[in-house]
């Protein structure tokens, strides 16, 4: 990391040594959810579902 971030003599704003993780109420995914996101059989099914959903939306967008 640049030495500038820890210079105590600098006037004005100082870069934080580490940007804090902002507070958030967003849920973190469980390990099961993470496994499902890369499960090939499940994602093959999701690929088909997402494709159909996108095709439907594309049809509505062409006038």
């Amino acid at each position: 990391m640049s030495e500038l971030s820890t210079d105590p003599t600098q006037s004005g704003p100082v870069s934080p040594a580490e940007v804090p993780l902002p507070a958030s109420l967003a849920p973190k995914p469980s390990s099961k959810t993470l496994r499902q996101r890369t499960s090939v059989p499940l994602q093959a099914y999701r690929f088909a579902a997402v494709s159909l959903r996108m095709m439907s939306m594309i049809r509505k967008s062409h006038h």
Binding site: V19, M54, I58
Partner: protein, 486 residues
Amino acid sequence: MARVVILGAGISGHTAAQHLQRLLGKKGHEIVVVSPNSQWNWIPSNIWVGVGQMAKEDVTFPLAPVYAKMGVDFRQAKAVAIWPEGDASSERAQVEVEFTSPERAGQRERIEYDYLINATGPKLNFGATPGLGPDGHTVSVCTYSHAEEASKKLQEVIARMKAGQRQRLVIGVGHGTCTCEGAAFEYTFNVEHEIRQAGVRHMAEIVYFTNENELGDFGVGGMSFMQQGFVTTSQLWTESLFRERDVRWILGAHAHRIEEGRIHYETLDGEDHVLDFDFAMLLPPFRGADLQAFDKQGEEITGDIFAPSGFLKVDADYTPKPYDQWRAEDWPKTYVSQKYANVFAVGIAFAPPHQISVPRTSPKGTVITPAPPRTGMPSGIMARAVAESIAEMIEGKASSPEHHASMAEMGAACVASAGKGWTKGTAASMTMFPVVPNYQKYPEYGRSLKDTTGELGLAGHWMKTLLHHMFIYKAKGRPGWSFIPE
């Protein structure tokens, strides 16, 4: 016989050229494409070039042979001025171009037209923030050559981490009025993925630096969608991914200047800050291509045709009004110039009537609001609509443009990569309908909950890979290209 001149050969310009050639090419009409670039570039995959997962050749192909095969007249040149009323020596409208091809570099030529489509895309306005960009202290993935340089710098950072040096990587936007936050989001998580694959994730602090007021805004004011029986927001959904991957974020930020390894920026509360970095990929704000316009007498009329941002004013309602009075019908439908019925603008080149995100200004008066995205699928749809309108007018089937492609009446599919790999990759697959919220039609959320969706997973990566190959196939004009929708 009519001549249509298209300025630009990006997604919108090339789409317009393909459809015009399909509709008019065999009927003796002439399609001319003017582009300063010799290569076509599938820009959505530049983020993979930027992390070393693809080479330049994977995302580009030479335009000249494709246009030669199609029967389109291609001039490698940049447009510099238009004479929509002709000039003292000719009644016909003209555009002046300056060649960029090595054999004719610097030469100028006037091309007469019956219809003109401005699809010049953006001028990458790195100069808006001192020190921003490849000529300054940050990298970019806006072009394939920028992305190649970003990849080299990223590999240097990874090497330093392997040598035991902790590094801070800042990825996002370099000005308070930038657009394309989705690309910054993609690059953030592709970098995170690459660093994890390299086994040095514990040595990296990754910071997403954005002008958005909340994560998941993406320049479209965020989205609401159904998930497991609840209406959730793109903010919550995006924050979840950031928490999962331990990516920090700085919101509502406008970079005032960038020095070597240091960003000076202001946040929406008016406070000034500095942030040191070891690697920074910050996207520039966009402006129009700085075309000039002249009337028949040679008087400059640029301000009558173009907005101060350099984008061409079309059939939108540009009346300044407060956010709560913005309406879906403010957005253009046919993309015809307000002043000239034979001039159109599509993709980034048209001037939007206002932002989509809630406009925000710091107490010091600094505008910190994402500009509306108008790339990808919407730019292709509007290019096709304009091509169809022009074809009908040339053939005498219509006297004015009849094909509509308002961003308030069309949806968009966005597949944002979060890491490449056939079994380990992920991407966020998002759809929204419409792009511009229509609170008259969808009073509660502005968009259809049925057609506005988002999910993360490997399927999204496969989808993005499929789109990569599909759209390059289409752009090359291979058999059946016209069956692939925009």
